[in-house]
Amino acid sequence: MDLKSVDLIVDKYQEKRTALISILHDVQDRYKYLPDEALKMVASRLHMDINQIYGVATFYKSFSLVPKGKHSVTLCLGTACHVRGGPKILRELKGLLHVEPGQTTADRQFSLNVVNCLGVCAIGPVMMVDRKFYGEMNPIRARRIIEKINQNKKNDKRNGVRS
């Protein structure tokens, strides 16, 4: 693994221990998760115990220690989305992808996430797939969106496009 980026990120924050959360955000932006090697390197550069780094990395929900899938499916379950039927959509997605929130499908295609509020309550229930918002969701629409991504992938394969 190329860890040069980790070095640069720690440099950017002048090796400040107080910038740990910002450093971890940047590392995650770069690698899409927090790889073990990267965390060890952060620990050694900041002269901190690796356990402390793990403590912070596992306490905050934004961080993931496992690689994420190709597509991120984020379902909002804030109160407004909850009362408008969010839980039904979650059940549908869990059944469709065979994963629990926070997990990634075996084929590494989808990571299912649940968040507490995306702050776009006007179009709730809201789902976000790869940073694109889908509003006024129901189980049928959620199923169609996932199926469409799967279908596109199959077509790409048939046409020889590498994913």
């Binding site: 740990l20 912070v56 109160t79 407004a80 549908e92 702050g119 129901n138």
Partner: protein, 617 residues
């Protein structure tokens, strides 16, 4: 950018900015809040930019990409000044017509106007729309006038004048007295008097003092702070600099949720701009006062909205709260005196300094002064951010501004205060909205989430939702919160599965009391509120789940059953086609039937049935 070295310089800069604004120019403002972004406002804005460039200098048009306008239900929103035309649900394809018809010829496009739900009249201006008329937009109002990334816009509307006044015409003690006299109370939820907080921190011994802005807005269904920081970051910064001067702070932090990328970006831009302009950093406005601000990002932990946990998080540690026997005003960030206020509180400061405490305290009730921004969401027609004077009734907010029920089902409650608050029943909607009345009713003001619930909302399910939410977000440091919430969640699970008994309710109440009395921080202390208020006002719903094994709102899956009305079914087959478990049988044009043992209760059949023949009970 020019360097501003004195109050006179600032005034000169403002005059220069205003003189450049030509009187005959048309200002087209596209709302660029996160809500409108979800509707595709970026495309609308880019469309305008492209068309305006293409048309050349034929007409003087200034395009603005503003912060949140509040009426999120109707986004993307476009306004045209000076005529004051308000267009809603604007799409990319409407851009050329707006320019060629409205901007060039002054013709109004009826199809883009807001239609009054009652009178069916098309309304041209924001000033006529009921959603806006009952509001009093002191803090949010400027969002529509300025582009958050342009400091010139903020200076143009009188920005940083309050700072100049504070630095040159007022002593720190005078500022604190003014804040105390204004009666401003913290907008983050607890409602602690801001002036008193500042005074405590000013009087705390120590040379280094910190100023913190809390934008860790974690309450689900609430996004006011984001919209203020995103749409008018300079107002928050100006408040912080004034506060720092009054308290004697030398360094500040804005703690922002990582989930708010646009707010982070706009705040960062604003900080860079004020630093360059000489309004932040060393020798601010030539007054000799030094203060700087930086951004600290959160990591998605709800508990970090609690002041001591937030401070631990800025220090780069796990966000666990500590006991508040010693206040943060004496020992906060890195054990130094620290003053922490919420985004909306800071944004109110320049207003109070500019217009005076007397003006501010004339708005609101005896003990709650000024306005409050609420995020009005859930089962209500007009979703959005509303800013109202304290003391307004819930009825006025929900029905006059919010337009009442969303889809024909009677509104039965409103949840305020987020996971620390409670549900207020419709019978109490005449209650004035202020810190003390809401607390008396078993809820609280909180940071400003207002989630409307109707007959299709199960109050037991809502109580369960909040308990699970808080259990998940509990940091785990103290036992009552960590274990108590888990057990409360288990009891509520049992009740919603139809396995509850009479003892469960008294056990739930007893547990709630212990958790509230013995938890370490605000999260645990207020965690039982959603359950206790639901039990207080909607006990019969709990009893229906326990005794009749029935969910009156038809929400709790184990207790409901879908069926098809023979009288209404047209035999179209749409339900059978959509059913993911093939639980619906029936020939074409014949009555259809749901097989209860295979039905997964997803409700898709109900969503597709055009004859409304699918029933749930």
């Amino acid at each position: 950018m020019r360097k501003i070295k004195s109050a006179a310089d600032l005034e000169k800069w403002r005059e220069d900015i205003l003189s450049k604004q030509e009187s005959d120019e048309v200002v087209v403002s596209v709302c660029g809040g996160t809500g409108c972004h979800a509707y595709g406002c970026k495309k609308v804005r880019d469309g305008f930019a492209k068309e305006i460039k293409k048309n050349g200098d034929a007409q003087k048009i200034r395009l603005k990409f503003t912060g949140c306008r509040g009426f999120c239900e109707r986004g993307p929103i476009v306004t045209i000044q000076p005529q004051g035309i308000f267009y809603q649900k604007v799409q990319e394809q409407d851009v050329s017509a707006i320019l060629s018809e409205t901007v060039a010829k002054g013709k109004i496009l009826e199809r883009l106007l807001y239609e009054d739900a009652v009178t069916k009249r098309k309304l041209v201006s924001e000033k006529e729309i009921p959603f806006y008329t009952a509001q009093h937009r002191l803090v949010m109002g400027n969002n529509g006038l300025i582009e958050p990334t342009k400091i010139e816009d903020y200076i143009g509307i009188g920005g940083y004048q309050a700072l100049a006044k504070a630095l040159f015409d007022m002593q720190p003690k005078q500022i604190i007295d003014e804040m105390k006299a204004s009666g401003l109370r913290g907008r983050g939820g607890a409602g602690f008097p801001t002036g008193k907080k500042w005074e405590d921190c000013r009087n705390a011994p120590g040379k280094i003092k910190y100023i913190v802005c809390n934008c860790d807005e974690g309450d689900p269904g609430a996004y006011m702070d984001r919209s203020v920081l995103e749409g008018n970051p300079h107002s928050v910064l100006e408040g912080m600099i004034i506060g720092a001067y009054a308290i004697g702070g030398s360094h500040g932090y804005i703690y922002v949720r990582h989930e708010y990328p646009l707010a982070c970006k706009n705040a960062e831009t604003a900080i860079t701009q004020v630093r360059k302009a000489g309004l932040l950093g060393k020798n601010i406005l030539g007054s000799g006062f030094d203060f700087d601000v930086e951004i600290a990002k959160g990591g998605g932990a709800f508990v970090c909205g609690e002041s001591t946990a937030l401070i631990a998080s800025i220090e780069g540690k796990v966000g666990e709260p500590r006991s508040k026997q010693v206040h943060t005003a004496n020992r906060g960030l890195w054990d130094k005196p620290t003053n922490l206020n919420n985004v909306e509180t800071w944004a109110n400061v320049p207003l109070i300094i500019n217009k005076g405490s007397q003006w501010f305290s004339s708005i609101g009730t005896e003990k709650s002064k000024g306005t409050k921004i609420f995020s009005l969401v859930g089962k209500v027609k007009n979703t959005g951010l509303v800013e109202v004077p304290m003391g307004i009734t819930l009825k006025k907010i929900i029905f006059d501004i919010g337009g009442g029920q969303q889809d024909g089902r009677r509104i039965k409650a409103v949840q305020t205060g987020g996971p620390s608050g409670g549900c207020i029943p419709a019978s109490l909607f005449d209650l004035p909205v202020d810190f003390d009345s809401l607390t008396q009713a078993g809820s609280m003001m909180g940071s400003g989430g207002m989630i409307v619930m109707d007959e299709g909302t199960c109050m037991v399910d809502v109580a369960k939702y909040f308990v699970h939410f808080l259990q998940e977000e509990s940091c785990g440091k103290c036992l009552p919160c960590r274990e108590g919430l888990k057990r409360m969640g288990e009891i509520l699970d049992r009740i919603t599965e139809g396995k509850g008994n009479d003892e469960d309710l008294s056990l739930l109440e007893e547990l709630a009391e212990v958790v509230a009395d013995t938890s370490l921080c605000g999260l645990g202390k207020t965690a039982p509120n959603p359950v206790l208020s639901a039990l207080r006002y909607f006990r019969s719903e709990f009893e229906a789940h326990i005794h009749q094994k029935r969910c009156p709102a038809a929400v709790c899956t184990p207790l409901i059953r879908y069926s098809i009305s023979e009288a209404d079914c047209t035999g179209c087959g749409a339900c059978a086609k959509i059913c993911p478990t093939q639980a619906i049988k029936g020939e074409k044009k014949q009555n259809h039937l749901i097989l209860a043992e295979i039905c997964s209760k997803c409700g898709s059949c109900m969503d597709v049935c055009k004859a409304n023949a699918v029933m749930v009970q």
